[in-house]
């Protein structure tokens, strides 16, 4: 019953879109208010809570010593998981990660990995072990655009994290060496109009979604098209440009101090 949207509601959103307006009064390239709070979970080595509008995710980073992959003996390991827990939405059911949870996790992971945000070769430990870095995204409230919230949260939690070296006898606790700040920006296509940071209704109505992850030099480290609609290459380029400039703004606003620090 949650899946059917009233036609007049869809019409309302389409009509507004044609006039370059949105239900909550935002412009097409405007995000809902974003808030990032770090260090809320002491048990985790790093943590961040991100809100984009009413969407809320909690990301915990746990770092533990472990065995490397046999084909990369001196590289640390990153493992990313997303839990779409049922408390976050009437449509989430208990159980192992479904295709949506897995897609979210893999895209966030790609952003962190391909951007070179963490140099895995610096995560090796003296005794042949390496640091295993677990990024666990726990979605608390789904009001659209979980992807960007999860990606920002992962980055903030990684920056907040300190290796638990003292606990395991590897010396002093240290921050992770974060070399890049990948930011994900998601756009949806509603009847040919492109808008960023889709609200829940916009996401449900849109036929297509495109997430673009870019780094501080504007280079792309991840992309994901989602949904059953199609995009022209011109639309894709337009989104890429929109996304990279928006990513720059978000990066400045929330990670500017870290960059300068």
């Amino acid at each position: 019953m949650n899946d059917v949207i009233a036609e007049i509601r869809k019409d309302y959103i389409y009509n507004l879109a044609k006039r370059r307006e949105r239900v909550d009064g935002r412009t097409f390239d405007e995000y809902r208010p974003i808030s990032v709070q770090t260090g809320l979970i002491d048990k985790a080595e790093g943590s961040a809570r991100v809100k984009i509008g009413n969407t809320q995710v909690m990301v915990g980073v746990k770092i533990q010593p472990g065995d490397p992959f046999p084909d990369a003996p001196d590289m640390g390991v990153i493992i990313t998981n997303v839990e779409l827990v049922p408390l976050a939405s009437p449509s989430f059911e208990p159980g192992p990660p479904d295709e949506n949870a897995i897609e979210l996790a893999r895209v966030v992971d790609r952003g962190v990995r391909e951007s070179g945000a963490i140099d895995l070769s610096t995560l090796n430990l003296p005794d042949g072990k390496v640091w295993l870095v677990f990024i666990d995204v726990h979605v608390l409230d789904h009001d659209g655009n979980l992807m960007d919230a999860a990606a920002i949260g992962a980055l903030a939690a990684l920056i907040n994290a300190k290796t638990p070296s003292e606990k395991y006898g590897y010396g002093e606790n240290e921050s992770l060496p974060i070399k890049e700040h990948p930011i994900a920006v998601t756009a949806v296509d509603i009847d040919g109009e492109i808008m960023l940071d889709p609200s829940l209704d916009e996401e449900t109505i849109a036929s297509t979604r495109l997430t673009v992850i870019s780094g501080s030099q504007g280079a792309l480290s991840g992309m994901q098209k989602s949904g059953t609609g199609t995009l022209s290459s011109e639309e894709i380029c337009r989104i890429v440009n929109l996304a990279t400039s928006k990513a720059k703004q978000i990066r400045e606003q929330f990670f500017g101090d870290v960059l300068r620090g």
């Binding site: 019953m1 059917v4 949207i5 009233a6 036609e7 007049i8 509601r9 869809k10 309302y12």
Partner: protein, 228 residues
């Protein structure tokens, strides 16, 4: 300068002791050992019977309720309707005033349509049957729909319709409030926008007193803002 409106209504929670006069037990309360207790989170009211007016909760239909329903599916002989209740409601093909064939059903009301219905039966297992109000098909094709908690509907309507009439007269809109918390508004877009904001404000402040006066003031100020 903010005026602090005192919430002079008593908020109670389940298990709160309300009275030791069992015959006066009304809705939202239960009796145990000669005392009346609250069953829900709500506002204590002892004007007549002792009752608790809910602050939240799900809409449970009663026979006679007029609601706005959303068609979510069509089976061989029923339209399946979401009326914002924990239960799906059905309108049988025979409730349509003209004899029609099963294949014509989606031409009359299709999935995604919103329409006004009357609840004609609710049985003990919560099977809900709907019919058209006054045997008239009223599909809402224009305007906007907003949803509020059913528990706030009495406030949106107001005593003897005072609040809803205030909205109608200040803004030039058509408005229909379903018992299930679905509200339909139709008018000029700027008036619709203001109506939506006004209704959300009523929903937020439903538990306070002096709301009608505050809403009158709010609408005056906002309306003048529009015409600047």
């Amino acid at each position: 300068m903010k005026n602090k409106e005192i919430v002079d209504k008593n908020i109670v929670i389940p298990g709160d002791l309300l009275s030791d006069d069992p015959p006066k037990s009304g809705e939202g309360t239960y009796v145990e050992d000669g005392k009346i207790y609250s069953l829900i989170y709500g506002i204590f009211d002892d004007k007549d019977k002792i009752r608790v007016i809910p602050l939240s909760g799900k809409y449970i239909p009663s026979i006679g309720d007029v609601v706005i329903g959303l068609i979510v599916d069509i089976s061989f002989s029923n339209w399946k309707v979401d009326i914002s209740a924990p239960y799906e409601a059905l309108m049988h093909i025979s409730e349509y005033p003209r004899r029609i064939d099963s294949s014509e059903m989606s031409k009359i009301m299709r999935v995604g349509d919103l329409a006004i219905f009357k609840v004609v039966d609710v049985d003990s297992s919560m099977k809900i049957e709907l019919a058209l109000k006054n045997d008239q098909l009223k599909v809402l094709r224009t305007g906007r729909i907003i949803e509020v908690s059913y528990s706030k509907v009495p406030r949106v309507i107001g005593r003897a319709g005072s609040m809803i009439n205030l909205l109608k007269s200040t803004l030039n809109i058509n408005i229909f409030v379903g018992k299930n918390g679905r509200i339909w508004i139709d008018g000029k877009e700027s008036d619709e926008d203001l109506a939506v904001r006004a209704i959300k404000k009523i929903e937020q402040e439903a538990h306070t007193s002096g709301l009608t006066d505050r809403m009158t003031k709010f609408l005056e100020e906002e309306k003048h803002g529009i015409h600047k």
